[in-house]
């Protein structure tokens, strides 16, 4: 028996305090077996800080994971939030002093947030964007609900190929649709004259709502199919026996119980349409009275001889605020929907 308090010989492969006990041969390691994992106190004497840190992290991996989490979180927060911070600095800098802005503005001009509405009718652009995004979301949710019901709850031949086809459409580049759509929307239809005046859809919300709904529809269908297929058949049967049609069961039972899914699909669609660039840029002439969206509003601060960067920045921030609010509100809805919708099957 060796004295457990005796100084440890790093080359002693027998171990220090358990001489008589049979030892697991795998503990004899090629480096001479310093026994660091077993005898923390003694082993500290013959290790550097890095070795010490490595040994600690092997014993307490949670600490490393937590550290990694903070590193990753800070990285993502920085890359997403710093542009906003910089945008704010640009917006607060008075016109003509835009050089060398890094962490603080050159001067202080909060009036830019008012000025944006004075130079051009930016609120009209915002209203246009809202109408377009809300209309697209409504169209997408109604049609995707019907499609999701069919794909999720009915058996019919060709269901899987059809679903794949729908998903494939969402992979098409929007530019591929642009020329035919632009041509179509500039064609005058006599039956549209009472609605749009000249009979074309160009410069109306329809020119944006129609293609954007179609492009963001497959994702919504996919989300809603997943949710609707998980509602027990018994609930739909019960609703139908109690007095609804299939459609009634969809709207009274299946959709309320799939609230988190509907909220997710709705929020994603709204944000995607609100942020969309390609069609928003091309399907109107950029005039606020012609349903031009926010994008055109921001670009309108770009004149022939000067670019009002500080107003563009202020307008961008104002444009982001509604979406930020929506996300915060919807997130609460989604979480509450997930916890309240406990189903018993």
């Amino acid at each position: 028996m060796s004295d457990p308090n005796a100084p440890t010989d790093p080359n002693d492969t027998r171990g220090t305090d358990d001489g008589d006990r049979p030892r697991d041969p795998t503990l004899h390691r090629p480096d001479g077996g310093t026994n660091v994992l077993k005898e923390g106190r003694d082993a500290e004497l013959d290790r550097g800080p890095l070795q010490q840190w490595a040994a600690d992290s092997i014993q307490n991996p949670e600490r490393v994971y937590r550290a990694l989490f903070y590193v990753a979180a800070i990285f993502f927060l920085f890359t997403t939030l710093f542009p906003f911070y910089w945008l704010l600095m640009v917006a607060l800098t008075p016109e003509g002093q835009l050089q060398d802005i890094v962490f603080t503005p050159n001067g202080f001009n909060p009036g830019a947030f008012v000025e944006v509405f004075e130079v051009i009718p930016f609120h009209v652009y915002m209203f246009n964007s809202f109408v377009i995004a809300l209309a697209s979301t409504a169209v997408v949710l109604v049609i995707a609900s019907l499609a999701g019901y069919a794909f999720g709850r009915l058996e019919f031949p060709g269901r899987t190929p059809l679903m794949l086809l729908v998903l494939i459409i969402s992979f098409f580049p929007p530019a591929a649709f642009f020329i035919p759509l632009n041509d179509l929307f500039n064609t005058s239809f006599f039956f549209l004259r009472p609605i749009t005046g000249d009979g074309t859809l160009y410069n109306t919300p329809f020119a944006l709502v129609t293609p954007l709904s179609a492009i963001f529809m497959p994702l919504a269908i996919f989300i809603l199919t997943t949710f609707y297929s998980q509602i027990p058949d018994g609930l739909e049967d019960a609703a139908r026996v109690e007095g609804t049609t299939r459609l009634g069961a969809l709207f009274r039972v299946i959709i309320p119980l799939s609230a988190p899914g509907v909220a997710t699909a709705g929020v994603l669609t709204f944000i995607a349409v609100y942020n969309e660039f390609f069609f928003s840029f091309l399907m109107t002439d950029g005039q606020p009275q012609n349903w031009a969206p926010i994008l055109d509003g921001i670009l309108a601060y770009q004149g022939q001889y000067e670019v009002l960067y500080h107003l563009m920045a202020a307008a961008s921030i104002i444009g982001v605020i509604p979406v930020a609010i929506l996300v915060v509100v919807a997130q609460e809805k989604i979480v509450s929907g997930l916890t309240a919708g406990a189903l018993k099957e």
Binding site: A238, V241, G248, A340, K344
Partner: protein
Amino acid sequence: MARVRLENITKRYGDETAVDDISLEVEDGEFVTFVGPSGCGKSTTMETVAGLTEPTEGRVYIGDDDVTGLAPKDRGVAMVFQNIALFPHMDVYENISFGLRLRKYDDEEVRRRVEEAADIVQLEGMLDRMPAEMSGGQQQRVGIARAIVRNPDVFLMDEPLANLDAKLRVHMRTELQRLHRELDATVIYVTHDQAEAMTMSNRIAVLNDGKLQQIAPPLVCYNEPTNLFVAGFIGSPSMNFVEGTLVEGGLETNNFTIGLDPGRLSGVSIGDDVTLGVRPEDVHLTQYADSLAAPTDPIDARTDVLEPMGDEVFVYLLLSEAAEGSMDQDPATSPNQLLMSVTPDTEIEANEDVDVVLDRSKIHLFDTATGDALLHGLTDRSEREPGTTPTEADS
């Protein structure tokens, strides 16, 4: 309340036939149970009545109306589901009143009827609870209240007690019987539990493989099953079946012979395979058989395993050495084994040689080839006359 009539209902899913040409009639105010093993088509048959499934062929009538093409909501039926199927996002009041509100009854009427229905199923004071806050039994009561509140013509119950625990199930069984009596309702009830079927129904419809096997009052199904399937399905533990061959003067099995006049059996002749069926309670020890009017000759047997159930003891009997060690076979169908039920005070031990007799009046004979019943009870007046039966002649 109304009659329900099914006419040649057939339902196919692709090549699979779930329901095969079922015709039956449920009388006004009658409680009929569809019973059968899993996948026998009983739920599908009920769904054709509810309108949740459209039959491939055949017509459904409720009252005098052909409802085959009608939507479920227009049929005047209410349904109670196995998985209870309460709407989890509505409280009890909203769940019960769902159908009434859809039909645009005024609020006062809705409240009155909901409270009345809640009274009947003893749910007073729980109307503002959410389904998730209730026990399984309470949830199923809400399901039943939702069904009765609309005062439907027909109640459909699809294994409503299957998800409840055993004690609650027995309790709800009596409640459902009370409800049926109070409401005087036409009820179609689906279950795979033959105890539920026996205790609750006016008539039982036994289904197997999508075909209707027998529809009759419970005791008729028990005492006079039309075929091997019904005989084996109704009754717990199951009836003993012993395969044998019809010979001159009797039925010969591996281990014993039962005397009978083959001329009494129509459809089979000497040399055909016939299956003898006898329930465990109709097998008796010879020394206790004095009370029997018509016992068979004693059969040598050896007791194997005893199962004391408290009110009775099940005794597994081996009829031959060959049977020993073959207990993995179901005793009900093995030709060399019999299950006997005796009273708990009977003096009997495992691994004991005993003589048993069968009650001739309770023996059932089935055509082995078709499964159809040939005869229920070997005693009738002509057999009891001395000297005329082969048994008497033999002994």
